[in-house]
Structure formats: structure tokens, C-alpha cells
């Protein structure tokens, strides 16, 4: 390693870098106004994210897990400013991020916040070669301007994700799924952001490359105090990278806990089911127990606790009253059963 990495001076661990307060995002999926008037249909709102609060300390990682469609990506997009929140707010480094995105200063902020997208292929412009794709943030923020310099830097970035600098002049479609994902990781790392939102960054990578990438991310975190929001379906990975884990269900956080606690002693019934469904390396040919029941329709979410139709411990209260996220036994859980000590 040629360059000596100095830890950032202003890194005061313990102070939250990102604070999401009651973040919510609804999508208006209702038909146009005139249609509604004529056909007497109500507005249809989809609560993709419905009041999510968390904070991430500088240099730490919060992982989000949960079913497909529970709103993880929406949270991610809210954090990077792709969506404006319908409710709630986001503080980044003490300032209101969404207000800042709108100002010219927002560009500077953009540089500090980056995102790795869920679908690597879709997030790469099919008509650009890799050099331009990875170089874009560098150019946009005026970090590097010389063509040669830029090339060199892109080469380094490619190498760091296990690709060759010689791949620079290829187009995205000439890569395999995992290679594309690595390209989008390299792009996100290009501006050396402080906060990185990773939406399933390693889903298409084989374990060895995944290990490399995760190690890089860890190294960066250690050396530069990078902060991550990490979304993944792979609980083993989550367990490895996260400091804290948030479990989402239908637009809400149902449990937030330190990873040790969460994996050792899951509280919410959904978390428990999820952990049960992890495939095990040790026992080849074992049958797993998937979470029972169908995924609820987000347009018409169940009343009360959204999980109650699938929950073995549900009672009348669960179907009537929506549980709040409460601190119980050192973790935050939103479950009446846990609150009442039925579990």
C-alpha cells in the first residue's frame, strides 16, 4: 500500500452523523383527479415508508433487513435525496439535508453522500464506457480534471474492486452481473464520501469477491470513519458488517438493536422468523422454514400491527392497535407481545 491513510481529524466518534426523524414517504398512486371525480374513487396512497426514525453514528454501520417491498430502498432513496420525504426530516452532520439539497451548497453535500444502487445494470448508463461512468463523479465535483489523472484514478478504483484497469474501455453489457455491481461500487467510492448508502451492494458477488469488497468497506470505515447504511437480504453479511440492525416490515421499523443482541436474542416475532429462514452451511440438504403467509398488500395494509395476520402470537390488541417502537430489554421493538411480556 503506497499511501498512508490518516484517520480524519474531525471524526468524533459517538456523535450521530445521520439522524432520520419520523421519515415517511407516501406515493400517490391514485388515478388523476378528473377520474376520481367521475368514478367516485378515493385517493390511493401507498405508504412505502411510514415513520422511520433512527440515527447512525459517525463511523458506524446501520443495516436494514426485511422482506422484499418493505421499503428499504425507499429509505435509502430518502437518505440520498432522490425522494423528498412526505413527513419527517433528515439531519446530516447537524444540518437539514433535504433543505440543503435544494441549495447550491447541496452539490457539496452530494459529494459527501453516495449510494450504491440495488440493480447494478440499470444504474449504469448503457451507452457509456466504464471509464466515463466511474469518472463522472470525479469530473462533476472537479476533484480531478486532467484526462490522464482521471484515467489513473479510475484504474485504481477498478483495481480496488477486483477488476482490471484495462476494463475501462468496455461497456456495461460486456460484464457479468457481479462485475457490473463492482463497477457501481467503484463509482460510489470515487468521491470518497462520508456517508454511503448501500442498497444490496454484494447480492451478485461471489463470496470471495464479496469478502474483498466488504473488507474494503470495513477498512475505509476504520481508516476514514465512513458511515454506512447497509441494506441486504444476506443476514450473514449483515451480521458481519453491521453495528446496528434495523428490521423493517411494511414501511416501519419493527426492531432496532445492536447486532449481537439481535442475532443472539431476537425479540420481534418477525425477526425470529427471518433468522430461522437463513440457509445453513453446516447441514447440507436441510429443509428451512420460510416465513409463513403471504406478503401483505401495501396499498391496503392490515390494521394495527401490520404483521399480525402472519404472527403466531397475535391477539385482539395486535389487530386493533399499532405498536410503537419502544425500548425494551436494551433494544427497540414494536410489538405488543414483547411489551406485554408474552414472548
Amino acid at each position: 500500500m503506497s499511501a498512508v491513510i490518516e484517520p480524519r481529524k474531525d471524526t468524533a466518534a459517538g456523535e450521530p452523523l445521520v439522524v432520520a426523524h419520523d421519515l415517511a414517504r407516501t406515493f400517490d398512486v391514485s388515478p388523476p383527479w378528473l377520474n376520481r371525480v367521475l368514478e367516485r374513487k378515493p385517493r390511493v396512497l401507498l405508504h412505502a415508508v411510514d415513520g422511520v426514525s433512527f440515527s447512525i453514528e459517525r463511523g458506524k454501520t446501520l443495516a436494514l433487513v426485511g422482506e422484499s417491498g418493505c421499503g428499504k430502498s425507499t429509505v435509502a432513496r430518502l437518505l440520498v435525496g432522490l425522494y423528498a420525504p412526505t413527513r419527517g426530516g433528515l439531519q446530516f452532520d447537524g444540518q437539514d439535508a433535504h433543505a440543503a439539497f435544494k441549495t447550491p451548497e447541496g452539490r457539496k453535500l452530494r459529494r459527501r453522500i453516495q449510494m450504491i444502487f440495488q440493480d447494478p445494470y440499470a444504474s449504469l448508463n448503457p451507452r457509456w464506457i466504464v471509464e466515463d461512468i466511474i469518472g463522472e463523479p470525479l469530473r462533476e465535483h472537479g476533484i480531478l480534471s486532467g484526462k490522464a489523472e482521471l484515467r489513473e484514478r479510475v484504474g485504481e478504483l477498478l483495481k480496488s474492486v477486483g477488476l482490471s484497469p484495462l476494463d475501462m474501455s468496455k461497456y456495461p453489457h460486456q460484464f457479468s452481473g457481479g462485475q457490473r455491481q463492482r463497477i457501481s461500487i467503484a463509482r460510489a467510492l470515487a468521491t470518497q464520501p462520508e456517508f454511503l448508502v448501500c442498497d444490496e451492494p454484494t447480492s451478485a458477488l461471489d463470496v470471495s469477491v464479496q469478502a474483498q469488497v466488504l473488507n474494503i468497506m470495513k477498512d475505509l470505515q476504520r481508516e476514514q470513519g465512513l458511515t454506512y447504511l447497509f441494506i441486504s437480504h444476506n443476514l450473514a453479511v449483515v451480521r458481519h458488517v453491521a453495528d446496528q440492525v434495523g428490521v423493517m416490515y411494511l414501511g416501519r421499523l419493527v426492531e432496532v438493536a445492536d447486532k449481537q443482541k439481535l442475532f443472539a436474542d431476537p425479540q420481534h416475532p418477525y425477526t425470529r422468523m427471518l433468522l430461522d429462514a437463513i440457509p445453513q452451511m453446516k447441514h447440507t440438504g436441510r429443509q428451512r422454514t420460510p416465513v409463513q403467509g403471504e406478503v401483505p398488500n401495501p396499498l391496503n395494509p392490515p390494521t394495527g400491527c401490520a404483521f399480525h395476520p402472519r404472527c403466531p402470537h397475535a391477539n385482539a390488541r395486535c389487530s386493533a392497535e399499532r405498536p410503537k417502537l419502544l425500548g425494551i430489554k436494551g433494544v427497540q421493538v414494536a410489538c405488543h407481545a414483547v411489551e406485554e411480556g408474552r414472548l
Binding site: V29, P31, P32, L34, N35, R36, V37, L38, E39, K41, V44, L46, G69, P298, L299
Partner: protein
């Protein structure tokens, strides 16, 4: 759906008013109708009198207001030259133009689309190069030249098709149709081909370009993997996915066919609106032009509306109000 249509119709009215307004602005420059209304021996006071009688001496906005008021009552006034109700004149001519445009459009679509598909599938082969090149003749020769050449070859030399007119027509109420007699079909062939040639080239090239994109998509690959026949893949799956841009352009072109078949109609003496319009322009027949332009605006609005509705038919993702999974 109804609401969608309703909204578009409201917009259509606005568009038509705008068109009428611009049309009236135009009329200051297309000539003076009075010059053509009276014979060469007319006395100046007769001319003045006629001008006043027609209201042509009034300020622009007054004339426009009168037009709007009349138009709102469904009355577009009288043709200055023909002295007949404009609505009747256009009504007489509309079926001819519409039939011609439709036949041409069908021709263009039914030849253009398969050719587009073929050239996309056999990209780079000799035959597709030939198609691509030859089709260019259709756009690089002016319509009047193509029309005359067709007449020269098929009417004069070979004597296969008649060179002018609409042939026998059958009357259904106010609608006259030439499509119910052999004679009528013979007459429509040459003008329809002339009109279609340009569209054909455009459609073929557009389909090819879109097909090339679509053929690379995952669902085409997957359709292949499912062992579907080539026909099902190319025409069922790939083609349908190219339709959105193709429909947009075809819609615009069909509107163009109806609206601006002027040259073809005059070459083949096709008794349609284009012929009426070109005469109206030469004689500065303001009411005819105004009504015609409004009608064209309406046609475009309707066609664009139909195209937008067809989007819904073709692409279920655009259908509102039926949202399922998410």
C-alpha cells in the same frame, strides 16, 4: 378512462381556438379574397361594397370574434369562392380523404412493419441493405414526381389503373365510399401507393431501429429460451414492444396524411379536402381555410388521443386504476 378522454377534449377545444387564432393571423398574408370574387370588370365601389359586406374591412379581432361565435354554433360560414356552406363542402370531401389516408396507412403499415422486422433481424445482409436503400427513393423523390411517374407507368404505358378521380362511389347517407366497387378500388391504388411510400420508409426504418433495441432485451432472450417459434418471438413479443414509438409517429403521420395529402390529391384529382384546401389557399377563401385548419387540429387531437388510448391497450403498465401487486 372517460375522464382522460374528457380532459383531452377540453384541451382539444383550447387547441382549436389557438389554431383558429393563428389561422386568422395568417389570413392577413395569404392574399385578398375579394380580388378573386369579382370579375375583372368590377367597379371599385362594388369591390368596396363586397369587402364591407363580407366584413373583411373590420379589425382583425372583430373578424376573429365573429368566427368564434359562428364556430361555437357549429357554423363555419360560407365559402367565399363557392358560395356554399363550408361545413357541407368539407363534409363532401372528408370521406374521400379519409378513405385515401386509411388505405395508404394500412398499406404503409402492412408492408413497412414486416420490412422493418426483416431488416432488423437480418441486419447487414444483402437483402436488407437493398430494402434500406431502395426505400429511400420513397423519401428522396418529391410526391408529385412519384405520382406522375406512377401514372406514366401504370396508367399510360400499362393501362392497369386509372389515372385520376375516385371512380364509382356508393352513398351511405352523407358518406360516400369508393371502397365498395371494383372501380373504386382501382382508382384508389395509385394515389394510396404514392401516399404510402413515404410513410412506409419511415415506418420501416423506425421499426427496424426499435426492433434492434428490443431484440436485445432479457424477455426476448427468455422467450427464445422457452422455445417459442421465431414468428411468435419476432411478431408477438418483439414487435409489440416496439409499438409505442411506432404508434406515436404513425399517429402523427396519419394525421399528416389526412391533413396534407394536398399534393397527392391534386396529382390524382382526388376529390378530397386537400384539393379543396389548395384551392382555398389560391383564392384566399378564408372561411374554408379556417374551418379546414380547425378540423385538422381536431383530427390531430383525436388521433393523439387515440394513440394515447392505444398506449393503454398495448402497454398494461400504463393502465391506471388497476394497480395490483404494487
Amino acid at each position: 378512462m372517460i375522464a382522460f378522454v374528457l380532459r383531452r377534449l377540453i384541451q382539444a377545444v383550447i387547441v382549436m381556438i389557438a389554431v383558429a387564432f393563428i389561422a386568422f393571423l395568417l389570413f392577413q398574408y395569404v392574399g385578398d379574397p375579394v380580388v378573386f370574387l369579382l370579375g375583372q370588370d368590377a367597379k371599385p365601389e362594388q369591390i368596396r361594397e363586397l369587402r364591407a359586406g363580407l366584413g373583411l374591412d373590420k379589425p382583425f379581432f372583430v373578424q376573429f370574434w365573429h368566427f368564434l361565435v359562428n364556430a361555437a354554433q357549429g357554423e363555419f360560414g360560407l365559402s367565399l369562392r363557392q358560395g356554399a356552406k363550408v361545413s357541407r363542402l368539407i363534409g363532401e370531401r372528408f370521406p374521400a380523404t379519409l378513405e385515401l389516408a386509411l388505405v395508404a396507412a394500412v398499406l404503409a403499415l402492412f408492408i413497412g412493419i414486416p420490412m422493418g422486422v426483416y431488416t432488423a433481424l437480418r441486419r447487414g445482409t444483402f437483402m436488407s441493405q437493398v430494402f434500406m436503400t431502395v426505400s429511400l427513393l420513397g423519401v428522396s423523390l418529391p410526391t408529385f414526381l412519384i405520382g406522375i411517374l406512377l401514372i406514366l407507368v401504370f396508367a399510360v404505358t400499362l393501362g392497369w389503373f386509372p389515372s385520376f378521380g375516385r371512380g364509382e362511389t356508393v352513398k351511405f347517407g352523407w358518406w360516400t365510399s369508393g371502397l365498395f366497387s371494383v372501380d373504386g378500388w382501382q382508382h384508389i391504388v395509385l394515389p394510396a401507393v404514392t401516399l404510402a411510400i413515404f410513410q412506409l420508409t419511415l415506418i420501416m426504418r423506425l421499426v427496424r431501429a426499435e426492433m434492434l433495441e428490443v431484440l436485445r432485451t432479457d424477455y426476448i432472450k427468455f422467450a427464445r429460451a422457452r422455445g417459442l417459434s421465431n414468428r411468435a418471438i419476432h411478431f408477438g413479443h418483439a414487435l409489440k414492444n416496439t409499438l409505442v414509438p411506432v404508434m406515436t409517429i404513425t399517429g402523427l403521420q396519419l394525421g399528416g396524411l389526412i391533413a396534407f395529402a394536398i399534393i397527392t390529391e391534386s396529382v390524382f384529382q382526388w376529390p378530397g379536402m386537400g384539393l379543396l384546401f389548395i384551392q382555398a389557399v389560391t383564392f384566399a377563401d378564408i372561411p374554408v381555410m379556417a374551418a379546414y385548419l380547425c378540423l385538422i387540429a381536431l383530427i390531430f387531437v383525436v388521433i393523439n388521443l387515440v394513440v394515447d388510448l392505444l398506449y393503454f391497450v398495448v402497454d398494461p403498465r400504463l393502465r391506471v386504476g388497476k394497480a395490483g401487486g404494487h
